[in-house]
Symmetry: C2
Subunit: 131 residues, 2 copies
């Protein structure tokens, strides 16, 4: 093992994809984006904070639903432009649709049909309310 100062290269890539993986089960939970500010907030708090591209602001994952992601391990790839974050997923669900993982649909390559294979943990209407 060798150690050196390095990490995601926000100078070269302003928005870096971050993969959240459940550290207990190995399930890939979601992919979202980080800019430097979100990355620093993640380091500071020990909870995953993304950058919302649609809302153009920090997205402290789980702030509303309570389903925060506690950082267990931070890894980055050979090109320093993708993050893999192993997390403890509080509440057991990462997806705003109530599934454990955002990747809850499987595609049949032959028919093009999608099948829901993920497990629904909560009802979004109850967690986020209706307005």
């Amino acid at each position: 093992m060798s150690a050196s100062a390095a990490g995601p290269d926000f100078d070269r890539t302003e928005l870096i994809p971050a993969i959240a993986q459940d550290d207990d089960t190995g399930d890939v939970l979601m992919l979202a984006w980080m800019n430097r500010e979100a990355w620093q907030e993640t380091l500071r708090t020990g909870r995953v904070c993304y950058w919302s591209r649609s809302r153009k602001k920090l997205w402290r994952k789980g702030e509303e639903s309570g389903n925060v992601q506690e950082v267990r391990e931070l890894l980055f790839d050979c090109d320093a432009d993708t993050l893999l974050i192993k997390v403890h997923q509080v509440g057991g669900a990462a997806c705003h649709e109530g599934y454990r993982s955002c990747f809850f649909r499987r595609l049949d390559p032959n028919t093009g049909e999608a099948t829901t294979v993920g497990e629904r943990v909560f009802d979004p209407a109850e967690v986020y309310g209706k307005s």
Copy 2:
């Protein structure tokens, strides 16, 4: 389980990030990009084909090294703008630097130091040659 016609939405997002996960170990191997053409090539061949953003052409993963990725399962996320592909990684290494996974470096959030934690499976100089 319910089935419906769906899949990654290339009409809305021209380049979609695709996460390759080792179907046997659960290790996240890499993230690269697909356009519609790469996606269709992947479906047609049963081997993962990305779109190289730097070379601006199809990237049939493993074409040179032999380390192809055989598709085991295709999943897509709630927003239909990210793919998760479970693969059999031939040769045991996905990374062009010879590591099993491209995510072979861990960051210490307190010191900012990176440590190589991944396992090197091959020597890139031997596989890709030197010119």
